[in-house]
Symmetry: C2
Subunit: 134 residues, 2 copies
């Protein structure tokens, strides 16, 4: 039986917001939904699965741009897993880059914070360091 859900139920079923589902459709990530006579969007099981796919990819931090590629690969029986793995690897590189950047900030700022008394006096190594020409 073809279970058809309106957007609110599709949102609940997928874990996305209705707002975002509309947005994904409008930005071309999703095909346009069929509509009721009143103009309500309707989603079938296959589309719900697609929404879930998107949510899980978003949870892994993939951009909508990448997700478009992932969806295409998913739906292509001729795909080569090489292509998928490459996308994943690129994303992992990005993640590693961001982590490194954040860890660097963390390290520098932790050192600064450690050398700030954090009491009622105005003396503060953090401000001093930020003010330095370096």
């Amino acid at each position: 039986m073809a279970t058809l859900l309106t957007i609110g139920d599709a949102a609940k079923a997928s874990g996305l917001s209705a707002k975002m589902i509309r947005h994904y459709e409008q930005s071309g990530l999703l095909k346009k939904s069929p509509r009721t006579d009143a103009g309500y969007r309707l989603y079938n099981t296959e589309q719900i699965n697609q929404l879930r796919f998107i949510r899980q990819a978003r949870n892994l931090g993939f951009s909508l741009h990448d997700i478009q590629s992932l969806l295409a690969l998913w739906q292509d029986p001729q795909r080569e897993s090489r292509a998928v793995k490459q996308l994943a690897q690129q994303h992992l590189d990005e993640i590693a880059g961001k982590i490194a950047e954040l860890q660097h900030m963390q390290q520098v700022l932790t050192a600064l914070a450690d050398s700030c008394r954090g009491d009622g006096s105005p003396h503060c190594h953090i401000l001093q360091q930020l003010a330095k020409p370096g």
Copy 2:
């Protein structure tokens, strides 16, 4: 002697872009610059130092909103270092949160990528997992 720089030179001297310096002024982070008769913004040494301060705080990932507070504290001789340290600590917490989030993605995605052959065959554990109802 009062060295006055135009915005391009102030940009070079501070490591910010001229675009961003204008933006910071317009968003209230910086006081409005004095101008030449022709309308060119001029920056003195003190303002260059302020721009450097902003750049260094940005490099540590502070938001412009936080930087506004940091600048105010910097310029307040009555400040308590407690306040600065608290801002730093909040930011450190945010950084730690982001790192944790990214590391989680990294961990999950690495496991998936490791179990994808990445060859010419269509079979791919990454896609399989993204498609799962979980």
